[in-house]
Symmetry: C2
Subunit: 502 residues, 2 copies
Amino acid sequence: MRQRRPARAVNAIPQPSFGQRPRPYDPIRVISDDQVEAIHQAALKLLAEQGMRVLNARAIDHFRRAGARVDGSMVYLDPGFVTERLATVPRTFTIAARNRAKDLRFGGNDMVFSTVGGPAYAMDLDRGRRDGTLQDMQDFLRICQSLNVIQQESGGPLEPMDLPASTRHLDLYLSQITLLDKSWNLNALGTERTMDGLTMAAITMGWSLDDLARQPMMMGVINTNSPRQLDDPMSQGLMTLAEHGQVAIVTPFTLAGAMAPVSLAGALVLQHAEAMFGVCLTQIVRPGVPVMYGGFTSNVDMKTGAPAFGTPEYTKAAQASGQLARRIGVPFRSSNTTAANAIDAQAAYESLMSLWGCLMGGAHLIIHGAGWMHGGLTASFEKLILDAELLGMMQSYFKPIEVTEESLSLDAIAEAGVGGHFFGTAQTMAQYETAFHPPMLSNWDNFPTWLSKGSEEAPARANRIWKDLLANYEQPPLDPGILEELEAFVARRKAEGGAPTN
Amino acid sequence: MRQRRPARAVNAIPQPSFGQRPRPYDPIRVISDDQVEAIHQAALKLLAEQGMRVLNARAIDHFRRAGARVDGSMVYLDPGFVTERLATVPRTFTIAARNRAKDLRFGGNDMVFSTVGGPAYAMDLDRGRRDGTLQDMQDFLRICQSLNVIQQESGGPLEPMDLPASTRHLDLYLSQITLLDKSWNLNALGTERTMDGLTMAAITMGWSLDDLARQPMMMGVINTNSPRQLDDPMSQGLMTLAEHGQVAIVTPFTLAGAMAPVSLAGALVLQHAEAMFGVCLTQIVRPGVPVMYGGFTSNVDMKTGAPAFGTPEYTKAAQASGQLARRIGVPFRSSNTTAANAIDAQAAYESLMSLWGCLMGGAHLIIHGAGWMHGGLTASFEKLILDAELLGMMQSYFKPIEVTEESLSLDAIAEAGVGGHFFGTAQTMAQYETAFHPPMLSNWDNFPTWLSKGSEEAPARANRIWKDLLANYEQPPLDPGILEELEAFVARRKAEGGAPTN
């Protein structure tokens, strides 16, 4: 077990050092092994008897040539076929970052914390909610770079709506590469966006695409269209990633009561079937390519149909999803979610219910780990800080209690004496700087002191913190020759018109 | 496993029905069995070699006559002595409530959610923080009675500072008995307050004290003075409870870095030793009397010395405490804590970190389950509602995922069809009212709707909810003869001067 390194302060904001901390506790099991098997078998039956619709001819052809039964756009997979494909999935893999000291391990007891990906809106306390811009997106990336607890960026924190839809992914990738030295994900919506990401990643490292295939750097989220459909752009993205040895994160969006059965077990059957279906396609395209099992089962408010997140159902489903992913040996992706409209108690408790669900469910990647608001429509600067605090707390929770002759402290207890105090004991003096999790956002002043300092609540503190991090951001250096090559690539691809937009 | 009954609405505020829902998942184990044993053995060594100071002669005499080594006020217990006393502790017990349908089970996988006990201040959004009054205390009790997720009241939600200290416990008990039909706890600070509680409980049921001993109704918190001291009033309270067959909740307050070693393992050694010491005394006084092991290990902010709660250290310590309590077979009490100054994100995440710590640590009683603010100094009306929501969410999390032929939903999935919707399926129509946790406090409106309704954040919603519950409170009926007898007892005890106040 690696020891937690001492916290260090960036401009007086306490932060842990960058680095993964493995989960030292067994995941929570919310269903029995028999129940896992029942869901798995029902999902296999679903794939064999009801099948999936695929809206891309090349993907259908892949399935047909691999021996699946195809009827028009419907694809049916036998249990034996699925089992055989799942057998080639690697249980662990690594993802390279531009700064190789920030490479990431996936699988086993390792976890990766990533930022929100995909919102259309930006939000902060000063300016409210608004369409995202390039400036917002870049500022968000700068703060992600500055937050050590964030280990990966997740495919664009928000859409820069001030840029053309066909080429904004190129500006995104260039921003991710230049503003971060951490791992970043691409937008897998169609072949062009995916290939542009792969090409720019390879340029960044001075690698060929073959080099990239030997050491994957790129991941992309592939959503199925629940129920039972894989659309054209997502098929393209999945195949392009797999062909080049990169990682598709196959994620059905199974909202129980809407796009999935109202029964949680049924929603999990549908999620499991669709995830396995996508995973199988990656292994047909390139056997042995790393791939992830995404779980995103939540529920709707049955009174209004509104999606709900961070609910008790979400928590249970995340933990059951971890059990299902482990059943088939595929690394597991989950998310930090909330439907809250403000940076209030609800935002905190829904996000923390999500995090306990995914982290104690054995998730290997937490997408939307920080900054997700409004059910995923909005990237919030204050939520980014709140979530970084929650992730930091969970990381400290995963630091095992040290039980040694010294830490059992019989000498320190004798030294303090009956009714005495431990502030001055030798043990305290030696350990007080690193003994406990140093909070970034929490305020522990007593009430009169807090009042006298202006009664600042958590959102206002988060606002100060992200501004401080942004003001003190340092751009990681990049070789000028590589930057020139990247800029030339972006210019050429823009001139070519970028990617299709519908 | 009992099934969750359908939620019912009290004045449109969704609530579950009253009732315990057992934890269906294994507790989280944050330390290994070997580490549990190392802490247990170190605590036994501490009791044998360093001992505890006891400030009550009768308690010392109990220990001496039972065979412990006594030197002045210092008491030393051999490991064999401790093991023998622990052997008589019941692993499960029940506590009677005035409404016997609300009797409570302790031990095994059962949990009891109780309210905050003991603060000096009351707080709400309208009036801010202020000294507690009888009116505040009674209003708090009325809301506790109205919240179904609250199963027990915890010894007075706040001190009525407008009443004399010597007799206010009598007004408290009369309020608890008349305003609640749920289980309530007494104030165990000294013999008189304890006896007054026992006597009034017995009167309420028309029982003798012998009847009460056969079916316990009363619990009281007994805090040790960490490190290594049991004071006079707490000794009295513990012995009086035990003599009458009632339940002492022996709870060291081991703040790592202040009253306990800076090392979490050391703080747990001290907690475990002090808790075992108090538990032993109950079994000397009355072998076989039910008793609880209280864990309250947290840490201080090492920069300021301020106590911190709901920290990662608190969460780990709560789960390790559960392991230690199970090691010695004593039912386990933990708490829902926060140091936050407002009903903000921090209040929510610290409380939820506490609840995951204690509920997944196998706690059988969650004292301060709802309403605790400012590190225990304040009872907050809005925090009461926030915590009731958190407890309700955890209770729903503990509703097992049902895995049956029907719930696997292959028929519903076929009915919805490819790319279809589940709102209208037969399964959804049959289950939509009870499928998911109905939130009391969470708002799931989309952002424009939420804005148009006035941008109400969680504290404002909590404010409306407690006022609604209070306005619609219904006092549970009490036999007039019993009420008369209780009032006569209170009048007599007030005339006698009540209880000592220092």
